[in-house]
Amino acid sequence: MTRARGAPGERRWLWPSLAAPGLSWLLIFFVTPVYAILAVAMGRLDPIFGDALPVWNPIQWDPSTFSSVFEAIFGGRLAQIFLRTFVFVVIASMLTILIGYPVAYYVSRRAGRWKGLFLLLIVAPFWINYIMRMLAWVNLLDTDGLVNQALMGVGLMGEPRNWLAGHPETVILGLVYGYIPFFVLPLYAALDRIDKSVIEAARDLGASPFWAFVRVTLPLSKHGILAGLVIITLPMFGDYYTPNLLSARATTRMIGNEIELFVTSGIGGAEGAALTIVLMTFVAVLMLYYLFTVLRAQREAAG
């Protein structure tokens, strides 16, 4: 029952005009910049300085930078970096599931009256700056840091080890540490939504707790796992600060490091832009999945 009392003009234009400033902002400062990546990647080089210059008209686009970047990815210099990024992300997300699932499961279904406290404690890292959390580990893993002191104290190591010098395992654990809160929370929400009576029904029909978990709880939390995975792998694929802070060596370079270097160093701007487009196409499936998850949640909230 919507009875419009206002003037007809006001009724039609009020809501779109409220949305207009925000939408224009996003068109100017979100859509245009993304187009600028394409314009630079497909652009030409400054004949004197060799800088990348954008070409705004798609008809004049020159895809030669793309072909050289593709050559570097398939068999060239970038092949190893792409492969490494992929391996790091896959291992880190597997570890995140293994560590994070039991936590989310316990807090959502078994924590009892402590649930609120647990929830607060697993939300806290969300609001602690990512760089600061990495800095904390840089302190601990330094040659004279507490990790080396502890390991030497119990006699596991004879002399200090430099953990921060190009060790893939340090970077992978850093990625797990950095992104795991973003996995645990959506999973917690999904597990928390499961109707307890469904699990009880499985138990009443004779399933052992183990099989009730495998056949009922686990399948029902599938969406939570997927949503969490997408949320953590998207930033992991473009991460450059974790390998830089925890290693800063060529042995742990990821795609993000290449992009950051190309784009901000001033040389190779076109390569950097092309690489960004490649990355974006690469993660587009993840972005779309995430987008539709948000849209579905939105529809559910609207009723």
Partner: protein
């Protein structure tokens, strides 16, 4: 839970270690001791490193791994190296606060208006508009960073890299979060109040001004806090849009100094960032909790705050 009440055939009596562990092995989910321990280890692992880093910001000596007594040396007592007196640390703090304040003041009104518009607008363009609003949420930050960097270097020459570009970048990714917060409350409020006001003779604009906006006040307050926290915590976009030494923010400063043998003053700077974010987010959480209590709607404010970042 009722799982414990389900009857089970009695096992043969056993003794010793086996007696203690057989039921646990048969049903590790029965009493979740393993899960509880796992969760506690997880929490300790995720929080203790940060606590140690904060603790060493109060160290009296230069070390970040050997305790040499408590002091505020790295906050303000040291005449050269403390956050208060080292020009580069001080300027990072000021830049972060400046950006956060600007972002909060620009993104919140734009986001509130956009949320209202998108929630009530039924036109043909409403769907694509909603889609556009969600895109920044799902776009990896490095892509936004690169795109903003390139557009400010090549097209938007009116703004140099630095404060203006950084503010614009922060507002761009914050707007969508504000919309999500406000819209959540709009759904909870429903349309009844507005319609009642209009049935009593208010125009749509009056209903918005005198009914809807006051009802949204807690959510608007929370949005201000969240915009502030998102901006002050941002690293990638700030770093891509740094124009010079004076536009370095706290996270950018932490990043660039972390591996260069820093003093505990860097920990002090990080701790200041941590305290200000936690303070702002706690206030937002309390405000939302009070609003929720008054309406007795489901869910806790903690969960809500967690969802903001999704």
């Amino acid at each position: 839970m009722s799982t414990e009440t389900v009857a089970r055939p009695a096992a043969l009596p056993r003794t010793g270690l086996a007696a203690r562990f057989t039921p646990w092995l048969r049903n590790p989910w029965g009493k979740p001791r393993f899960l509880a321990a796992w969760t506690w280890i997880y929490i300790v692992w995720s929080i203790v490193p940060v606590v140690i880093a904060v603790a060493f910001s109060f160290n009296a000596g230069r070390s970040r791994s050997a305790w040499q007594g408590f002091s505020f040396r790295w906050y303000w007592e040291d005449p050269d190296l403390s956050v208060l007196h080292d020009p580069s640390l001080q300027s990072a703090m000021i830049q972060s606060l400046k950006l956060a304040a600007l972002t909060m003041l620009i993104a919140t009104p734009i986001g509130v208006a956009l949320a209202l518009g998108l929630a009530r607008w039924r036109g043909r363009l409403a769907r694509p508009a909603n889609f556009l609003m969600l895109l920044p949420l799902v776009t990896p930050e490095i892509i936004m960073g690169v795109s903003l960097f390139l557009v400010f270097v090549h097209l938007f020459r009116f703004a140099d890299l630095g404060t203006v570009a950084q503010t614009i970048g922060h507002v761009t990714f914050t707007i969508s979060f504000v919309v999500i917060v406000i819209r959540g409350r709009l759904f909870a409020i429903g349309r009844e109040y507005e319609e009642a006001a209009m049935d009593l003779g208010a125009s749509r604009l009056q209903a918005l001004r005198f009914v809807l906006l006051p009802l949204l006040r807690p959510a608007i307050f929370a949005s201000l806090a969240i915009a502030f926290a998102l901006s002050i915590d941002d690293f990638v976009i700030s770093q891509f849009l740094v124009g010079g030494a004076d536009s370095v923010t706290i996270p950018v400063r932490l990043y660039s100094a972390a591996r260069l043998g820093p003093t505990p003053a860097l920990n002090a700077l990080a701790s200041i960032l941590l305290f200000s974010t936690l303070l702002v987010v706690t206030i937002a959480g309390l405000v939302l909790r009070r609003a929720k209590r008054r309406e007795a709607t489901g869910g806790t404010a903690v969960e809500d705050l967690a969802r903001f970042e999704l």
